[in-house]
């Protein structure tokens, strides 16, 4: 995806021959030389690229690393010609080739593509790439990239780079980049600087709450303890170092706390999305639907199908990728609802009076569906790609907020609101509640209870389908997808109070946050066990869950 995107940029760059600057021409010459060179000569040439002012260098290095540079053997003893391959936009099309030296496109038929040989950089050379790209990035106009590169280079604690960074600090104007430079320089100073430099660095890292610098500080302390440090520290200086470490550590624990809350919220949102459908089919209708997990899987497979359909309609284009997901959401809802509808008509409608037996029948259905998925889609899991707007993250105060996680929280709010609206504000919701509370009375009032039950079950299954769409974004789509969520879903509904959607919301969020909060302390497995045990104990205290349903019937 990303790569195709890159390809387009590269081809655009290579096509703009008319804007060739002197820098670029120089860079291109070095490229060709580097491609044809070997060993340390090659690494030296690549390193020298960082001194050119050409903007082509990073893209070129990317292409080389990826294996898009080919060699066209020349006749006789002449050196081969390096070419850049650009993949066709349509699948099955033929790639186009550009000469690296001048960016001219090679006419089709002027050479035999089969005779091309890939020019792979050696592993050693490729290690130089990263540093070259970083060094170049120090002068890109993109602020974020500049800052990242500055920090990364600083963390290398390299004698040669340190002066460059210090020099750059003089001229840099962007505050965020200066900050990163300071941090990077400070880390380098800790191991290479003078005593004053070290003390300044200790103070600076503390002031900047530098997580990246923590290791360097700790290493310094280790070295001091072991007597390996370049300059011995006085008691007071040592105390300063220790205080700096402590300060950063407390900052980390703060970010951990906020991060944990966010992660808990997002896990809670996942649980909520997964359990909401069950809150309706099980909570309201009393059907112990063990096939709920498979309804989720139906939704996830629907997302996969819509992706496939979009790809076949619009080819594997960015458009298809960015939009299929918007289509997948309603589509998955509908397919899962349809499956729910069929399930209700064929099996569940006979079991309303035998809820415990609905458990067995639906479990049978779940086995059939699981193997059915395998027979239809194959045993291997299917992958659903994420549109770019679900990738990436924002980082605030060293806490990462993934877009997909933010999305799931929003998505959960949306479907909870939608469900609430349907239940509380529409005539359909009114009849649903009437049928669930007293089917006979509802029937007497002229409500077609069969139809309402059918629709309700389909709706609950549809919600499960929505959960499936989202789960396809955080994991892969497989026949066992639903199984991993079924116990959790039931626990969420039961802990929240059967038949109460507000209870489901609160218990999902509560379980999510508790789980994430326990994880760092106990590890992922013990954390989950504790959550399960806590729910069991909670039910001792409140057997009806958070919001028990108020039924006066006896048994």
């Amino acid at each position: 995806m990303l790569f195709r995107f890159h390809n387009l940029i590269i081809s655009a760059l290579f096509l703009l021959v008319s804007q060739l600057s002197a820098d670029d021409t120089q860079a291109r010459e070095i490229f060709v030389e580097a491609i044809l060179a070997e060993g340390s000569e090659q690494t030296a040439l690549v390193e020298s690229l960082s001194t050119t002012a050409s903007t082509l260098v990073p893209d070129f290095l990317e292409a080389w690393k990826r294996g898009d540079i080919f060699l066209l053997e020349a006749d006789g003893s002449a050196a081969p010609t390096p070419l850049l391959e650009v993949e066709p936009e349509q699948e099955g099309g033929t790639p186009t080739y550009f000469r690296v030296i001048d960016g001219e496109e090679m006419a089709a038929g002027s050479f035999d593509p089969a005779a091309l040989e890939m020019a792979r950089p050696s592993r050693k050379t490729r290690r130089v790439f990263t540093m070259t790209i970083d060094l170049l990035a120090l002068s890109t106009p993109n602020v974020q990239e500049r800052a990242d590169a500055a920090l990364k280079l600083g963390l290398k604690r390299d004698d040669d780079i340190l002066p460059k960074l210090i020099l750059l600090r003089e001229t840099e104007t962007e505050p965020s980049v200066i900050e990163a430079l300071n941090e990077g320089i400070a880390v380098s100073m800790l191991s290479h600087g003078t005593k004053e430099g070290q003390m300044d660095a200790i103070q600076l890292l503390r002031d900047e709450n530098s997580i990246a610098g923590l290791d360097a500080l700790k290493n310094l302390r280790h070295d001091l303890n072991d007597g390996l440090a370049t300059h011995p520290f006085s008691e007071e200086e040592l105390a300063k170092l220790t205080a700096s470490i402590a300060s950063i550590e407390s900052y980390i624990s703060w970010t951990d706390f906020v991060g944990t809350c966010f992660r808990g919220l997002s896990l809670g949102a996942v649980l909520l999305i997964v359990a909401l459908g069950l809150a309706i089919t099980f909570g309201l209708m009393g059907v112990i639907n063990m096939a709920h997990g498979e309804m989720i899987a139906v939704g996830a497979y629907s997302a996969y199908i819509s992706q496939t359909v979009f790809y076949s309609l619009f080819s594997e284009s960015t458009f298809a990728l960015e939009t299929y997901f918007l289509f997948a959401i309603p589509f998955s809802f509908l397919t899962a609802a349809l499956c729910g509808f069929i399930l209700e008509r064929t099996v569940i409608q006979f079991l309303y009076k035998r809820p415990l037996e609905s458990l067995l029948a639906t479990w049978g259905v779940s086995l059939i569906l699981q193997q059915g998925f395998r027979l239809i889609f194959g045993a291997a899991n299917r992958q659903v790609r994420s549109p770019s707007w679900l990738l990436g993250n924002v980082e605030i105060f060293d806490i990462t907020f993934g877009f997909n996680r933010i999305f799931v929280i929003g998505f959960a709010i949306l479907i909870v609101f939608g469900t609430w609206f349907l239940m509380a504000k529409t005539p359909m919701g009114l009849s649903i509640r009437a049928v669930m509370q007293d089917p006979q009375m509802a029937a007497a009032m002229g409500i077609r209870i069969n139809r309402v039950r059918m629709m309700t079950f389909a709706f609950g299954s549809g919600l499960a389908g929505l959960a499936g769409v989202f789960l396809s974004q955080i994991g892969s789509v497989g026949s066992n997808l639903g199984q991993s969520y079924i116990v959790d879903s039931f626990m969420v509904v039961v802990a929240g109070g059967v038949g109460n959607i507000v209870g489901t919301v609160i218990s999902a969020l509560g379980i999510g946050v508790t789980d994430q909060a326990l994880q760092p302390l106990l590890g992922p497995v013990m954390g989950r066990i504790c959550v399960l045990v806590a729910i069991i104990l909670f039910l001792q205290w409140k057997p009806g869950g958070l919001f028990p349903s108020k039924s006066r019937s006896l048994d």
């Binding site: 995806m1 990303l2 790569f3 294996g67 792979r120 592993r123 990263t130 990364k152 963390l155 290398k156 880390v187 997580i211 990246a212 610098g213 923590l214 290791d215 360097a216 700790k218 980390i252 951990d256 991060g259 944990t260 992660r263 997002s266 896990l267 996942v270 193997q371 395998r374 194959g378 045993a379 291997a380 899991n381 299917r382 992958q383 790609r385 994420s386 990738l391 990436g392 993250n393 980082e395 990462t400 993934g402 877009f403 997909n404 996680r405 789960l471 974004q473 955080i474 994991g475 892969s476 497989g478 066992n480 199984q483 991993s484 789980d515 994880q519 760092p520 590890g523 992922p524 497995v525």
Partner: protein, 422 residues
């Protein structure tokens, strides 16, 4: 109601028919071998491919005249990802079908569950999947990668790359636990300080480390917290992640990895359980640049491999196997090691001149070579194989680009305690 009654009668009748359908054919000019993999349940995703490649190998051998003049008759049974059922099925294969050899098992626990059966009834099992070692049964041949044929070369490579910090993460079962314990010893022996090993250590009462790394249960999908931890760990640069997560969880792991803004350049992940076959169900583009280490890659540029891949694809197109997948198939190390196993068995049978298990084992122990798709493999006296090890970098196509290779690595199952701290 009438309709229902009809359905009921139909169901009863078909159940009856089902039970009556037990046809048995036996011919003298064939020899039976067992194929014991999970074709349903959680492990089906991985093991079905091994069944396919085994059937392919058997068809190939049958087409070229069979073994000792006999055609091989495969008996395919489903272990159903159910470990006691594996034991039951292996008993069935050995006692009822009287198979000459069995090819099968993926998980350690399934192997552990059938091991006593093979020892009791003197069967012969070929086990093809990379494992934790610490085992050497007289009745099993481990064509699989031992820890020193996968994890250790990978770590060597990372160290050479200049990585200084290693974060260990895996699924909580015996393979990751053991591998990480071996790696811990190995890293310490290479001078990596304990504080540079991430994921957490557990010590016993005497302060001895009994477990290293973070472990998640099977099918775990929530890696947010762990990723935050890795991010902190890697903040100071030059860190790598050693990943022994099993199966589907990897998808969640790598998606979270990307969402956390980590990249293969900054923090490379080397995975031991992800082969080309797994990439069919993984978002390979999220893993570009990540590393894998196996004794075979589909992208290997050798005539043997090209022929193997082409023949396998051709076979797939026409194979008459229920529910077989034909589209988008790839080959991978466990598949090739299964394939090698069949040919090694054939060679051993021919050398011994009999199907008798003891004689075949003796022949295998004497050292038999086969030029497989991944290079020459040679059986060792300790029931493991000497083979080449490759390190590959993931490409967006789900293939590996070979970036390093180690030739003829001797398979050594018992590694713990063999590395001492410098």
């Amino acid at each position: 109601m009438k309709f229902l009654r009809g359905v009921r009668a139909g169901a009863i009748l078909s159940a009856g028919a089902l039970l009556g359908l037990q046809a048995q054919a036996e011919e003298d000019d064939t020899v039976k071998v067992g194929i014991l993999h999970s074709l349903s349940g959680t492990m089906a995703i991985s093991e079905t491919s091994l069944r396919d490649v085994l059937l392919f190998a058997i068809d190939e051998i049958n087409a070229s005249g069979g073994v000792l003049g006999k055609q091989i008759e495969p008996v395919v049974v489903d272990g159903a990802s159910d470990w006691p059922l594996f034991a039951e099925k292996s008993k069935q294969l050995l006692l009822q079908d009287k198979v000459a050899a069995v090819f099968g098992c993926w998980t350690s626990v399934s192997r552990k569950s059938v091991l006593p059966v093979f020892e009791e009834y003197n069967g012969l099992l070929f086990y093809p999947v990379q494992y934790e070692g610490e085992e050497q049964s007289p009745n099993i041949f481990y064509t699989a990668e031992a820890v020193n044929q996968q994890a250790i070369p990978a770590v060597d490579f990372l160290l050479e790359e200049g990585r200084e910090k290693f974060y260990l993460i895996g699924t909580d079962y015996v393979y990751p636990q053991t591998t990480n314990l071996v790696l811990l010893e190995y890293l310490l022996s290479k001078g990596v300080p304990l504080r540079n090993i991430g994921g957490g250590l557990r010590r016993d009462a005497d302060g001895e480390v009994i477990s290293a790394g973070t472990y998640t249960p099977f099918g775990h999908t929530d890696y947010q917290q762990i990723m935050a931890d890795i991010k902190k760990f890697a903040a100071s640069g030059d860190a790598a992640v050693i990943n022994t997560i099993n199966g589907d969880s990897n998808v969640a792991f790598f998606k979270e990895y990307a969402a956390a803004g980590l990249t293969a350049e900054e923090v490379p992940v080397v995975s031991f359980s992800l082969s080309e076959d797994e990439f069919r169900s993984l978002p390979a583009e999220d893993l570009v640049g990540q590393l894998g280490c196996w004794t075979y890659f589909m992208s290997l540029d050798t005539p043997e491999n090209e022929e193997f891949v082409a023949n396998f694809q051709e076979w797939l197109a026409t194979a008459d196997v229920d529910g077989i997948e034909r589209e988008g198939r790839v080959t991978c190390s466990p598949m090739v090691l299964s394939y090698d196993g069949v040919y090694l068995w054939k060679a051993a049978v021919e050398k011994a001149g009999t199907f008798d298990v003891d004689s075949v084992v003796k022949a295998l122990e004497s050292g038999i070579s086969f030029d497989g798709p991944g290079g020459t493999v040679t059986t060792q006296e300790n029931h493991h194989l000497t083979k080449n090890v490759y390190i590959g970098e993931t490409l967006p196509s789900g293939q590996f680009e070979v970036i390093e290779s180690f030739d003829e690595v001797y398979g050594e199952p018992f590694l713990k305690g063999t590395f001492s701290e410098e």
